[in-house]
Structures are given as C-alpha cells and as structure tokens.
C-alpha cells in the first residue's frame, strides 16, 4: 500500500507542477476522482492475462536443446546451456506469474514421489501434522483447512493412481494447482515465523518477519526469494539444487543446494526472475 500511496503522492506533485506551468496539457494529470489503486490493479491484471494465455502453469517435457535454440544468438547464455547439456537432458517450463518456483517445486516433488512411494508416505504424514501446527500459529482455521484438505486429496489420489499424467493434470488445473501453491506459501510463512529470530537478520527494509510474510510470502504471485526457498526446503526436508543461468562471466553454471545439508532430489533452472524444472541426464 505504501508504494501505491507513493504513486498517488507523485501524481499529485505532477498535478501541482501543471498548475505552476500554466497547464501543460502533455503531462499526465492527476484526477482525484479516479481511484488510482484500481487503475494500477487493472493494468497488472491485463499483463497477467497475457502471460496466462501464452504459457501453461507447468509445460510439457522438452529436450534441453530447446534452450539451446532459444539462446542461439546469445553467446553468454548458449555457452552455459552447453555446459548444462551433459548433466541435464530435459526441461519443463513453468508459467512466469510469480508462482513459478513453487509450481516448479511441487510438480517436480510430486513427480519424484510417484516414483518413490516411501517419500510420498513421508510427505503425507508431514502434511497431516502441518494443519494443527498452522492453527496453533494463528492461521485462520476455516480457510487454512480448505487449502490443507485439497492438498491431502491430491496426495491421497496420487497414492492410489499416481502417474506423471496425473501430476500434469493436477498442476495445470487452476483451482487445484493454486491451492497447492497457497498451502506451500502458508508452510513457508509458518517456518519463517517459527524461526523468526534466525531469519530476521536476512530481511531487508526494517520489516519484522511477520510483516515480511504478510507482504512477500502469503500473497499469491509474489516471487520466491532465497529466504522462501531456504524455509520451504528446510520445513519439508526436501533437497533442491538450483542451477543459475545468468550473465556471469565464463561458461560455468553456478549451483546452490537448499538446504545445504540435503542431497538434492529436485533440480531447478534459474534465469533472472524465473524458475523452470530440469531433468538429470
């Protein structure tokens, strides 16, 4: 809200200038009768709709060479893709809507689980216990339960008839997929708040851990940062390796394991601002 407020104030300043300049009609004018928040939200909505129309929430399995083609005119990126090629064979793209890390994570994890039933049972047990913990921490019971129950339904269903096709369907069904993402966000928020003393030193802008969770973790479409990833992987005890494709010098691709002491079972590809799923060769 403060950002929006800031924009309102800025607009007011422009309006003031207009008056000073004897009505310069080319500058945007601030109309106090227009609800600025709604204008901003309408624009954000339009951008989101365009992304939605273009990409599936979780795409189909593609060969890594599709990345090579994508960067054929970009020497920095293409040399790094070449570095990745012997280690990884495939990529699955996720929708860049701010939920990409979580969507990529849960897809890759559920896919791992259908091939590793003991992990699926472990995860189910964890999920069962997580509900009470969230209630104890003060998350609203009525709605939290709804998200939790949907997650349990998905996991139970996979126990019975787990297949990659089923995971694909679940993660691309708007209602179900978003509910999974919401619940993961609640788990992250809970883990950060439970360990607030530790995490507080990593939070920028003088915010408390609780404020950070309310602004950056619980709302949908808010991008996941290192902190979110550390919290989620530690809370679930699931190892994730992120491969970083960026403008850094040379052909080396840096990687990082979350949490540091866990063997990774999920591999994600990071490009500035976005995560996709990688498959080992």
């Amino acid at each position: 809200m403060e950002d929006k407020n800031q924009e309102n104030i800025e607009n007011k300043d422009i309006n003031q200038e207009n008056k000073d300049n004897n009505q310069d009609t080319t500058s945007p004018e601030y109309d106090p009768n227009v609800n600025q928040d709604e204008l901003i939200m309408a624009q954000e909505k339009q951008i989101a709709e365009e992304i939605k129309a273009k990409t599936a929430m979780v795409g189909t399995l593609e060969s890594l060479s599709s990345l090579e083609k994508e960067y054929s005119h970009d020497p920095v990126y293409s040399s790094k893709v070449v570095t990745l090629m012997p280690k990884f064979s495939n990529v699955r793209r996720t929708r860049p809507d701010g939920n990409c890390f979580l969507r990529g994570f849960i897809f890759a994890y559920l896919e791992y689980c259908i091939h590793h039933r003991e992990e699926l049972s472990r995860f189910k047990k964890y999920l069962e216990g997580s509900k009470e913990e969230l209630f104890e921490m003060g998350f609203p019971k009525f709605t939290t339960e709804d998200f939790h129950d949907m997650f349990m339904e998905v996991v139970s269903d996979l126990e019975g008839s787990g297949s990659v096709e089923r995971v694909e369907a679940v993660c691309n069904d708007a209602g179900t997929s978003d509910y999974l993402v919401v619940y993961l966000r609640l788990l992250i928020s809970a883990h950060l708040q439970k360990n607030a003393e530790f995490f507080s030193c990593f939070i920028e802008g003088g915010r408390t851990v609780e404020e950070f969770c309310k602004q950056e973790v619980e709302p949908m479409y808010r991008e996941c940062d290192h902190l979110h990833i550390v919290a989620l992987t530690s809370a679930l005890g699931v190892g994730v390796r992120v491969m970083y494709l960026d403008r850094g010098e040379g052909a080396t691709v840096l990687s990082h394991d979350f949490p540091e002491d866990k063997d990774p079972i999920i591999h994600l590809l990071y490009r500035p601002g976005h995560y996709d799923i990688l498959y080992k060769a």
Partner: protein, 165 residues
Amino acid sequence: MSTPARRRLMRDFKRLQQDPPAGVSAAPTENNIMIWNAVIFGPHDTPFEDGTFKLTLEFTEEYPNKPPTVKFVSKMFHPNVYADGGICLDILQNRWSPTYDVAAILTSIQSLLDEPNPNSPANSLAAQLYQENRREYEKRVAAIVEQSWLNFQDEDDGEEMKKDT
C-alpha cells in the same frame, strides 16, 4: 458451472450463516454469486456507532488468489475511503492473503473505521480533519451515520411500495 472461486464463495457464505461475526452481515445477490451485498454496523464507542453502512463486494474467478473489489454504497466520510466508495486498505491490495474470507474482509473494514491510516489518504479532507480538527471530523462522520439510516429507510419504503402494487 462450479469453479474454484464459486465453490469457495459458497463456503464463505455457509460460514457466515453458521458462525456470523459480530457487527457485519453479507450475502450474495440473488442472481450472481460473484456480487455480494454487505452491511457493516459502526463499531460501539466510536463516531461511527449506530451507522448501518452498505457495501458491495465484487469477486472475480481469481478469488481467493486475488481480493474482491469492495466499495461502500452508503456515503462514507473516512480518510481511507475514496469519493466513489473504494477502500484503501492493505489487505485488499498488496497484503491480500487467500486465507481471508468474506467475514475477515468485513471485520477488517469495520476495524478500519475507527483506526484510519492517515498516511495513505483516499479522502484528503477527512484525513486532514482527522488529524487537525477532530471535532469537525466527528461532526462530518455523524452526518454520514444519519444518512446511512435514511438509505435503509428508502429501501424499506421501496419494498413497501412494491408490495402495494
């Protein structure tokens, strides 16, 4: 057709009926579950006491990922309410969480009435009077409280008339 948003709105409605929160009420409109009418009663021991303020909530298929658009229909005089009834409240914008339901939204707005945030004014006169001339502010609020009863009166009359014809 049942969509995730509609399913959740039915759930919200059931909860409002089974476990109604104090001082607020809401229901979907007859023909469209995506548009709700609500009433917030002005909290006790505040200048808004005894007010019966009508609002509309407009949901999209993205609920609960995204908040509804909430507007006062009754005339409001408050630092964080725009002239068109739109509300400047963080949980309806950048602090929205899918864990808020209709009851939570309305009780948050009810609390906002007596705890305005003068740093993000939507009505600069109300914000200024709230900070600099509380007496005048309360006078203006008292006026819209009275007006809120008239609105209800009109509606009752309207219904009476319908019955007569």
